[in-house]
Homo-oligomer: 380 residues x 2
């Protein structure tokens, strides 16, 4: 009977050009190729190109590639630390992705390839042989904003099996991001699955919202269609999203088996999302007991009425008591100084907080590290 | 206060090269650009290239592009019908995606860009201002296969609100595909949302499984990591998946509010998935009452014991009675003849079925059309 299958495959393989294309098996070289010594080789076929380089977060400068007799350009890195890396090629100055690697990720308006070097940190960001939570894209009504909105929700392994109730971490993206950012670039599901399996984090629900108040959903997932994402949108840092956050919490407590009390709710965000977490938590002190500011924009926003009283509300938040107010920032971050100023402000009002200084800057590498560390502290 | 935000944006925009990259705003031309007359213009910057073409399912042959003085290559289509299209560029013979368009989709081992020309069919495949169902990635145990497995589940709008129970459509992918295929290329969520909103389809749960019995999950979502997908895998058409399908139905009926009876269960698939639907439905005649074979491989598989009795089981399925046995195939499909032979077999045994002949071949264009038509017939 094997010949039937083989014939079918042969037929399928030749049925048309688009099928051939779908296989992606034409003459593509292996790329990226990870070597046992930790180096990684990239390859790109471009016999007529005059210069090809590879850029990625594994190297400050693009790596020059050299072309062999078959027209395949190649470059090999130095040994890399265990980490998730993104990269792209520049072919005669034109940025392109690696056709040999189907694993891509979108960061705002740019699609890059990714690969993971295994080991401690890379393994944490990888799908392991452990119980997996469920990841859902869910629409909820926001009466405050007057629109239906989309969010990404992680429920931990076992959620569907029992009747137990769970704490909730609300996790907010940065400027230009959306409800796809944390799950894709932040590897939230992998980090939580792996921390929970190792007994390092409590089982929790993670709610990843869209922090752009004018958006219903990420580009391509909203009625505006397949448009190009923008970095700066109207109404991102002027109180609209912060003031609509009660809609999110209400929906989650109504539709999920949550522990619907302050001690079992955390809110954290990166960059603009840290700004949102700061202002949401100070204006909803009875709602959140655990706060994380990752490379946050620790400043007032555009709306005088909403931000003017931040000293007063921060003091009320302090007096109300918090289990954790966690601030993480990289020493190379362009918001480092702003964060230092905010910490002085907190010090001056004797607002207790935990500060995590890391190396590096305003990068997803740091935000994954912060999520990993912050998640382990929660609800204990 | 506006100057604070503007300064932050300025800061954010300049913080580092990777951020610049994330914005994708360097000097990229607009592409694709849809015109009011239905034509579409593609643009690609490559000043040093000697030949650039654009290929897609809107044209049998690649369209030659011409280069302007700024090094931007350009081509414009003839007016296109309303449809979802995928495309790529060939730069001096090297396939690449459009860096101006972040909307991509993976078909087995190839990443392409997509765009939608609005109108009747394009609108059906687009996110509209209608109530949206939830799309979840869920892991389930398969005792039969001895592994944990991932699937994609659509629950209709309102599922989370009430206590109602729903019928279930099990929807199976083709060779080389996985549990991401129907939701990404098949636009299942958009089609169902829009049909339900228009009152054309019943509210139903749609379960999109992974039909490769050796796989836990799609590439990148399984412990094997970020590997390159393959077209042909072991154990795809030899009974393993079919015989494990009871695990799926059991999990769904246990974890979702289903109408857990034959009249409220449908199974359909494309190509290899049609093969699976054929063989699962004939061996589980008490489970499925609605069957859809889309461009199906209507043949026996590699396992003598499992496939030998297909005449007997098909007759039992006929005698058992079915609400619908729906066969769709395109006149250019390489499986057209095989389907004609299968219909003769059914005719000979007086097995009632509905046949939908379409133009075109073994393409997602047809499978989306079949899903649209099939879904409207179900559970009525």
């Amino acid at each position: 009977m094997k010949h039937i299958i083989l014939s079918l495959c042969a037929l399928l393989c030749t049925w048309c050009a688009s099928a051939q294309e779908a296989l992606g098996e034409s003459t593509l070289p292996t790329s990226p190729e990870q070597h046992t010594n930790g180096t990684v080789t990239f390859r790109y076929t471009a016999p007529k190109a005059t210069q090809v380089t590879v850029s990625g977060d594994f190297s400050a400068e693009p790596l020059p590639m050299t072309c062999n007799a078959e027209g395949v350009w190649e470059a090999t890195t130095t040994p890399l630390d265990s980490e998730l890396y993104t990269y792209s090629f520049q072919v005669d100055g034109v940025r392109t992705i690696d056709p040999s690697n189907v694993h891509t990720v979108r960061d705002i308006a740019t699609v890059s390839n990714l690969f993971i070097v295994g080991g401690e940190r890379g393994d944490l960001y990888s799908v392991q042989q452990v119980p997996h939570g469920t990841v859902s894209r869910v629409w909820y009504p926001s009466p405050t904003l007057g629109i239906e909105r989309r969010m990404t929700i992680y429920t931990p392994p076992g959620y569907e099996e029992g009747k137990g109730r769970y704490p909730v971490l609300y996790l907010l993206h940065g400027m230009g991001g959306d409800e796809e950012a944390w799950i894709a670039l932040g590897r939230t599901a992998q980090i939580l699955d792996n921390l929970i399996a190792a007994g390092k984090a409590e089982k929790m629900i993670v709610v990843m919202t869209n922090g752009n108040a004018i958006q219903q959903a990420a580009p391509g997932h909203c009625p505006e269609g397949l448009y190009k994402p923008q970095f700066k949108l109207p109404k991102t840092m002027e109180g609209s999203f912060e003031q609509s956050f009660g809609d999110v919490v209400k929906f989650i407590d109504q539709h999920y088996r949550t522990l619907a009390k302050r001690e079992k709710r955390a809110i954290a965000g990166l960059s603009m999302g840290g700004f949102h977490a700061l202002h949401i938590s100070r204006t909803m002190p009875k709602t959140f007991d655990w706060v994380g500011l990752f490379s946050a924009a620790t400043m007032k926003g555009e709306n005088e009425a909403f931000y003017a009283d931040w000293d007063v509300t921060l003091k009320a938040q302090r007096d109300n008591g918090l289990s954790l107010y966690w601030i993480g920032c990289g020493t190379d971050d362009f918001l480092w100084k702003m964060n230092a100023g905010f910490r002085q402000k907190l010090d001056a009002m004797e607002f207790p907080y935990t500060f995590r200084e890391s190396d590096g800057g305003h990068t997803w590498r740091n935000w994954r590290i912060y999520l990993n560390e912050f998640a382990q502290l929660l609800f204990k």
